[in-house]
């Protein structure tokens, strides 16, 4: 076995790859948070719950309606995205005139309600979701056995993240979104229906969370607390990357997944806290985040 400075490269790489898979979820979730924060100025605490709802909707579609993984991958983000737009229209939009803290509290409350309702209906034990036929199996990589599904998760997240980034950076709707993030009043005075843009943006961010939820379903058991488990780490990722930075949230998401994975090999006891330690350091040295613009 190859070894450098006394570390075995094989197991270290294996942990890195596993970390990259977590990073795929961090990237998808923090990307949605960043898009929402940019335009709405709201830290969407319901993000983890909506990710969880995404997984549950996929499970319900499969077990009650026989709709499988592949259609769900498209259908669930649309359904949950529409639910998100409803939440924005009916609840969040009422708070824009108040301090941002109210939006945070509202979405935090919504997250608790959604989690509680799911626990009430489905219990907290978690339900399995089979890996789709075409993604079963694994590849022997020498240093590890790599399940095909996990390769798919990393690749699909990467493509969706880059696709979202391209839409925001290279299209006219993306330019309108960036402009509205800077100066919504002026963009509206040019004839753009900014309230509708805000609703669609929230729906889009939520759809990304739901997409992540569907992808997570076959990997982790579908359970009501899956959102709150991951979202705390994702908030740390967002703080490290810089609030509202699109590319920053993608790179930081994948990067911190890797860091977490390597830490699991180098210093296993530290893997649960390494991201939070980094968050504290970044907050002290560069409060706007690695990719954020200082206010």
């Amino acid at each position: 076995m190859l070894s450098i400075l006394g570390y075995n490269v094989g197991p270290m790489l294996a942990q890195g790859v596993l970390g990259l898979i977590n990073g795929a979820f961090y990237a998808l979730l923090s990307l949605g948070l960043a898009v929402i924060f940019g335009l709405l100025n709201i830290i969407n605490f319901a993000h983890g719950a909506l990710y969880m709802i995404g997984a549950f909707v996929a499970w319900v579609l499969l077990n009650y309606l026989g709709i499988g993984y592949w259609p769900s991958l498209i259908l669930v983000p649309i359904l949950v995205g529409c639910f998100g737009m409803l939440i924005e229209r009916v609840l969040i939009s009422k708070l824009y005139k108040l301090d941002h803290l109210y939006g945070l509290l509202l979405t935090f409350g919504l997250a608790l309600i959604m989690e509680g309702l799911m626990r009430n209906y489905f219990g907290s034990s978690g339900m399995p979701f089979a890996v789709p036929e075409s993604l079963r199996g694994a590849t022997r990589l020498g240093f590890m056995i790599m399940p095909t599904y996990r390769v798919w998760v990393v690749a699909a997240s990467f493509v969706v993240c880059i696709g979202t980034w391209l839409v925001i950076e290279k299209t006219s709707i993306g330019a309108t979104l960036r402009a509205a993030t800077e100066n919504p009043a002026l963009v509206q005075a040019f004839g753009v229906n900014v309230p509708r843009l805000v609703t669609m943006t929230y729906g889009g961010g939520v759809a990304l969370a739901a997409f992540a939820g569907v992808m997570a379903a076959p990997m982790y058991s579908v359970n009501p607390s899956m959102g709150s488990n991951v979202i705390i780490v994702v908030f740390a990722v967002v703080v490290i990357g810089g609030m509202g930075s699109i590319l920053g949230s993608i790179l930081t998401g994948f990067g911190l997944g890797l860091v977490e994975g390597f830490t699991k090999y180098l210093y296993p006891q530290g893997s649960g806290v390494v991201i939070f330690v980094l968050m504290v350091i970044v907050l002290l040295l560069r409060p706007a985040g690695l990719f954020g613009k200082a206010a």
């Binding site: 006219s172 330019a175 309108t176 960036r178 402009a179 993030t181 800077e182 100066n183 009043a185 002026l186 963009v187 509206q188 005075a189 040019f190 004839g191 753009v192 229906n193 900014v194």
Partner: protein, 235 residues
């Protein structure tokens, strides 16, 4: 009157929070005219422009655009009715390049200039198409702020101090542009501090002070009214 009225402002009041800024502003702009609002700093010219555009929190009175009351309308719907603002602070977006800034306002009707016509008016914008909007010089940013509202098909253009702080050659270029767009049938409401510049482009001038219009002067009578004007503007 032979002219067709484009904009009728009557008894316009406006507030920023608790502070009452406009106290019953009255004036008219006829189709195809260039009309200025003159007045000292703080007279309420910008607030008048913003109130017409629906950008001031609380306003009352009447603003009729081509027969349509707009006082209660949302700013995007006012824009879609055919009014466009070039704001005093220019409002160039730093996260958009020059072309994206130019293309940002949606086309709301026919009659706007094409991109090549805008580039012909402002060649700098073509050369710097890929630059970040806020990396342009002050003059270029002003060209961009004017250029982007020429594209949309809006017929009434509100230009808030387009020459403020700019070099004489650029002021001349903006003067030529205003005359050119007037020839093309646009109607312009122009805020100016510099009435010598205003006299080279405008048909009529309204003078504002303390949130009301206190006088109206035809451009050809400007020379005869110089003393009065100096008095109004405190120059």
């Amino acid at each position: 009157m032979a002219e067709r009225s484009m904009l009728e402002v009557r008894g316009l009041n406006a507030w920023y929070g608790e502070s009452h800024i406009l106290h019953g502003v009255d004036f008219d702009v006829n189709e195809g005219e260039v009309v200025t609002l003159l007045g000292r700093n703080g007279a309420g010219k910008t607030t008048t422009m913003k109130s017409i555009m629906g950008l001031v929190g609380t306003r009352s009175g009447s603003v009729v655009y081509r027969g349509q009351e707009t006082i209660g309308m949302r700013s995007d719907l006012i824009a879609r009715a055919g009014i466009a603002l070039c704001p005093e602070e220019r409002g160039i977006f730093s996260s958009l390049n020059v072309t994206e800034n130019l293309m940002l306002p949606p086309v709301i009707g026919p009659g706007g200039l094409s991109i090549s016509e805008i580039h012909a008016l402002f060649p700098n914008l073509k050369e710097r198409a890929a630059s970040q909007g806020t990396k342009l010089s002050g003059g270029e940013q002003q060209m961009l702020a004017i250029g982007r509202i020429l594209r949309t098909g809006a017929k009434l253009l509100l230009l808030d101090e387009p020459t403020e702080g700019l070099a004489p050659v650029i002021v001349q270029q903006i003067g030529r542009t205003i005359r050119e767009i007037k020839n093309r049938g646009f109607t312009v409401l122009l805020v100016e501090q510099n009435f010598r510049f205003a006299a080279t482009v405008a048909d009529r001038h309204y003078v504002m002070d303390h949130g009301v219009v206190i006088d109206m002067i035809q451009n050809h009578e400007l020379a005869a009214n110089m003393d009065k004007l100096h008095d109004y503007l405190g120059v």
